[in-house]
Structure formats: structure tokens, C-alpha cells
């Protein structure tokens, strides 16, 4: 590994042929953070390396969330029994190419990673009662073929619209392609009114795919309970607020809401779910 990559290896993992699952902590609906956290919890992930933050994050102070000082973290975990490496990080604000190559350096040179799975979320204007989909963008035709037996939307066409930029996930997928590491960027559309909340259904969608693909043998009963609870909470909002029920009914009928109605729906759902927690 090149010395210029600021990676600290605490303990070298013993892996023969592993897969890397990567998620960003402050992703939409905290999907990347939740999925990687769940994998670490269920598969007893052990931290073994980290990327030093100074080149990649603005370190002018700390942010405070839920009364706690936060600091950027970019950590690698190993789940040895399943030949799995998990990387969870805040998304860097500078030197992206160097940061993403640092991840793949650790993956290739210390973990013998053969496949890359990147987790991402996108906004959907569907209701939460619509089953979650999992969209896949791959970096090689071979990877597309390998994934053909799974329940994925695999034929997406997309071009960056004017005024927007590609995601960090796409940037990483492209770098992995250049390094001949087969990879897939996974995207779950999340109902817009849950984008700032957690979406257990979306987490389960990604985790179920990873479970099947990587043979992780995870029992999802706790996550199923979370999904049931969230669905019950959302049903309560609908029964207590007829206007909210009407908005969600319209979304279920594939009708668009006005900007004002979208805002009202988001506000009410977020307030209710926060009060319920």
C-alpha cells in the first residue's frame, strides 16, 4: 500500500477471499449507517483499521447531534466467520479520489476483497406502503450476470441532470472498475416523508439481498419487529389525521401532491414519529 494513504491498521485481518460492504453514516434515512451497524452487530464485526480524517474532513471544530459531540469516523470492521469486511464512514468533503482509493487499498491489500457492495438511498415519491425496491448499478457486465438471479432492478438508464453531480457511490464504483474489482451500487428508493427518519423496510431490503448473496445466515426477527412497529405508528398517524391519510391515499393511487402538501406530510410524520420514540 502506498505510504501516502493515511490508513491506520490496528490488526491485520485473516481473510482468504472476502466481500466489502460499504455505507455512509449520514446517508438518507441513515440507511448506510444502519445497515453497516446491523451487520457489525449481528456478525460481531471487529474494528481493525481506520482512515485518518485530517486530509478529508473540515476539522474546524465538532458538530453536536443529540447532545453529543461528533467527529468524522471512517472505520473498517471484519466479520471473519463470513469473510466479510464492513466499512462505515462519514462522507468526506475533500480529496475524494484519494479517500476512495484508500478504502480500496485496504480492501485489496489487507482483506483480499473480491467484490464490492455499496449502499445508497434515493428519494421516492411513493407511499411507505409500496414495497421497497432494490436498484443495482454494476461496474461490469460480468457482475450484472452474477446478480441476475436476485430480486434487483438491474436495467436502469441514467445520466446526471444538468446542475447536479454524480454521487460518491458512483465515484467509488468507477474507481473500483479501474482496479478490476467487481462492484455494485445498491439504491433503495425511500418515501420522501421518511427521508429524515429511519426506514426499517429499506434496511431489510438491502440486508435481505446481502444475506442471500453473501450467505450471512442472519435472523431478521428483530428487524421484522421494527418494521411492524413503524407500520403501526404510521397507521396511527393516518387514523388520527384525516388530512395525512388523504395525502398517503393519493400517493398510493400514484397521484402527485403539491409542494405544500409534501411539506405538510413530512412535517406531520416526522413530528409524530419523533414523539413516539
Amino acid at each position: 500500500m502506498s505510504k501516502e494513504y493515511p490508513v491506520k491498521i490496528h490488526k491485520k485481518p485473516k481473510l482468504q477471499s472476502s466481500s466489502l460492504v460499504l455505507g455512509w453514516s449520514e446517508d438518507m434515512s441513515n440507511l448506510g449507517g444502519k445497515v453497516t451497524g446491523y451487520l457489525n452487530q449481528k456478525l460481531k464485526g471487529q474494528e481493525f483499521a481506520e482512515i485518518e480524517p485530517d486530509d478529508f474532513f473540515s476539522l474546524g471544530g465538532v458538530t453536536i447531534e443529540d447532545n453529543l459531540a461528533q467527529f468524522p469516523e471512517s472505520k473498517f470492521y471484519v466479520c471473519s466467520e463470513r469473510e466479510l469486511v464492513v466499512f462505515r464512514s462519514n462522507s468526506p468533503g475533500a480529496e475524494w479520489y484519494k479517500f476512495l482509493n484508500s478504502i480500496l487499498d485496504v480492501a485489496e491489500h489487507h482483506c483480499q476483497v473480491k467484490e464490492l457492495y455499496i449502499i445508497g438511498a434515493m428519494v421516492s415519491f411513493s407511499a411507505h406502503t409500496t414495497p421497497r425496491e432494490l436498484l443495482a448499478v454494476v461496474n461490469s457486465a460480468e457482475m450484472k450476470e452474477v446478480l441476475s438471479q436476485y430480486d434487483l432492478v438491474r436495467d436502469m438508464d441514467y445520466q446526471t441532470p444538468p446542475g447536479e453531480r454524480p454521487t460518491l457511490n458512483s465515484f467509488l464504483l468507477w474507481i473500483a472498475k479501474g482496479r478490476n474489482i467487481p462492484g455494485v451500487s445498491l439504491w433503495v428508493p425511500i418515501p420522501f416523508y421518511l427521508a429524515a427518519m429511519e426506514d426499517a423496510q429499506a434496511q431489510k431490503k438491502v440486508l435481505s439481498f446481502l444475506n442471500e448473496r453473501l450467505d450471512l445466515k442472519i435472523d431478521f426477527s428483530d428487524l421484522d419487529r421494527e418494521i411492524r412497529e413503524q407500520n403501526e405508528q404510521l397507521a396511527q398517524v393516518r387514523s388520527r389525521f384525516p388530512q395525512i391519510d388523504d395525502y398517503i391515499n393519493r400517493l398510493e393511487s400514484n397521484l402527485m401532491l403539491s409542494e405544500e402538501e409534501n411539506g405538510e406530510l413530512i412535517k406531520n410524520i416526522e413530528e409524530f414519529l419523533r414523539e413516539s420514540d
Partner: protein, 303 residues
């Protein structure tokens, strides 16, 4: 991080002309227009990934086909004894959310451009950008020039419609050039190249608008082509200018009449011969600036 040359053309006494986006895109339009008119041929680029975040992605049937970065390209044109290398950068490398190039990355890029200049034994470097000035959009923009060597001053004083930045009244022989234009000028001085930055004037009230200002690009190109002793017709810039001028007029009519009245006085800002009701005093200049700032602040707040 480096330079990729697709070919190494043999060039005689070349000069290098560099342009990047900036206020009104004055510099890049001037440089890219000249490059287009002369039909210069692309021969290399600065590899982008260490400098820029990607700008576009194409996914076809679920497969990532390509990721496109802002380009930083070199072109050459043989003109018979005074060949030209063009460097056209689609973006300036920025750090920490700044608008214009600053810091280590920008300095690295400036030096990569100079590496190419050195390789081809360029005798001079021109950069180009914008000079925010108390002028009116209906008047012909001047060109502010800044050399990096004393020996260039007499030559610049001979350019038409050009003023040395340090000679401009009220600037106390000082000034600064932000972004890569300034940085390249300084880095060139450090490495022993002579260099001149040519900046076309843009009215102070247009600097924050998402508009190009081809009128100033034309002024820069007139000076540049004179300096390079090449003849070019600038009809395309005139066409572009007419289109932009209409949009500027629409904007101008939205400015409250009392401020517009002050701005109208800028039409009489002349440097050679006072015209109309007479030159603007320093106090009036100050008042105009305050009015303009107040208007844009109010506009930015949605007022």
C-alpha cells in the same frame, strides 16, 4: 496526478494562453474563442481525478459506462514562427468550498500548466479573466493588465484600450488577482517565465449574475490578438454579445429607478475625455457602490 500528452508537436517560439471560468466567464470565452477561430489541435490534458469531483455519469441498462470529469486541456496552433499553446480549464480546482482556486491543489495545477510551458520552451504566458469595475454595460470595456515583470510595462502601455491595473485611479498602485489567473502569474514569475494577465472590465452590478459577458471577452481578445500580431474576426462574439445584452437590459430595467439613475451616470465614466455631464467624483463613486450593494443585498434576501 500528472500531464498526459497525446503527441509532442514541434513548436517554434510558442507562447501559452490560459483560460478558466470566472466572473462573466470573460477569460475562458476569450481564450476558447481564439482557440476555435485558429482551429487549434488538442494534444494533451491534465489528469483530472486528483483535482476535481466528477461532473457527469452515464449508466446504461444498469452498467456504469463512464464517469466524466471537468477537463483541463492543451491545444496547439502553428502560426509560423510564433506558435500558440492554449490551455483551457473547464473548472478551477477549489478547496474548502471556495469559489476560485486557492491552496495546494491550485498551486499544483498552476505548476502543471507551467511544466508544459517549460517543456515546449514557451517564451511568454498570458492569462485572462475579469476586472470588476465601476463601468456601465453600454460602454466598451477596457482591459486591465498586470505583468509579472517590470520589463513588460512599456509594451503594455502601448496596447490599445488597456490600462495597467496599478495605474487605475484610486487603487494606490495595488490590487489583487484571485484564482488561477493570479496564481499562474505568480508561479510563472517564480519559475522565470514572463507573463501578463489581461482582465476585461465587467460592471460591478453584473458581477454576481449568472451571465457571461462577451463584450469584455472581445476587448481582451482585441488586445491579445494585437499582442500576438494575429488578425481575427470576432463576429461570433458580437452575436453572443447581442443576445446577452438583451438579458442584461431586462435585468437593468428591474433595478429601482433611483439606483438605475445612479448607475446611468457610469455611462459617463471616461478616462481620456470627460463627456456628458462630467466625470464622476470619488464621493459619487462611493455612493453608487453603496446603492448597488444595498440593492443586491435586498434582492438576495428576497426583498
Amino acid at each position: 496526478m500528472g500531464i498526459r500528452l497525446y503527441q509532442e508537436p514541434h513548436l517554434e517560439n510558442p507562447i501559452l494562453v490560459a483560460g478558466w471560468p470566472g466572473i462573466g466567464n470573460i477569460g475562458i470565452i476569450a481564450v476558447d474563442t481564439l482557440r476555435g477561430i485558429l482551429g487549434a489541435e488538442e494534444f494533451g490534458e491534465i489528469e483530472p481525478w486528483d483535482f476535481f469531483y466528477p461532473k457527469r455519469i452515464l449508466i446504461r441498462k444498469g452498467v456504469l459506462e463512464y464517469l466524466e470529469f471537468p477537463s483541463s486541456k492543451f491545444y496547439f496552433k502553428r502560426t509560423g514562427g510564433k506558435d500558440i499553446i492554449f490551455f483551457v480549464g473547464e473548472e478551477q480546482p477549489t478547496e474548502g468550498g471556495r469559489v476560485y482556486a486557492e491552496g495546494k491543489k491550485a498551486y499544483q495545477m498552476a505548476n502543471l500548466v507551467l511544466d508544459v510551458a517549460e517543456k515546449f520552451k514557451c517564451r511568454r504566458i498570458y492569462t485572462s479573466g475579469a476586472a470588476v469595475a465601476l463601468t456601465h454595460h453600454t460602454t466598451k470595456p477596457r482591459v486591465w493588465a498586470v505583468p509579472n515583470s517590470e520589463s513588460l510595462i512599456p509594451e503594455i502601455r502601448g496596447y490599445r484600450n488597456t490600462v495597467l491595473m496599478s495605474d487605475i485611479e484610486g487603487r494606490g498602485r495595488h490590487g489583487n488577482i484571485t484564482g488561477l489567473n493570479g496564481l499562474l502569474l505568480g508561479a510563472a514569475k517564480k519559475r522565470g517565465f514572463e507573463a501578463i494577465c489581461l482582465m476585461g472590465e465587467i460592471p460591478v452590478y453584473l458581477q454576481g449574475l449568472p451571465l457571461t459577458y462577451p463584450k469584455a471577452s472581445k476587448s481582451v481578445l482585441e488586445v491579445l490578438s494585437h499582442s500576438l500580431k494575429i488578425e481575427v474576426t470576432l463576429d461570433k462574439l458580437d452575436e453572443l454579445d447581442q443576445k446577452v445584452e438583451r438579458r442584461i437590459e431586462e435585468f437593468y430595467q428591474q433595478i429601482p429607478p433611483e439606483i438605475r439613475g445612479q448607475l446611468d451616470r457610469l455611462k459617463h465614466m471616461t478616462y481620456d475625455k470627460p463627456a456628458g455631464p462630467g466625470p464622476i467624483t470619488e464621493e459619487e463613486k462611493k455612493r453608487i457602490m453603496e446603492d448597488v450593494e444595498r440593492f443586491f443585498k435586498k434582492r438576495g434576501e428576497g426583498g
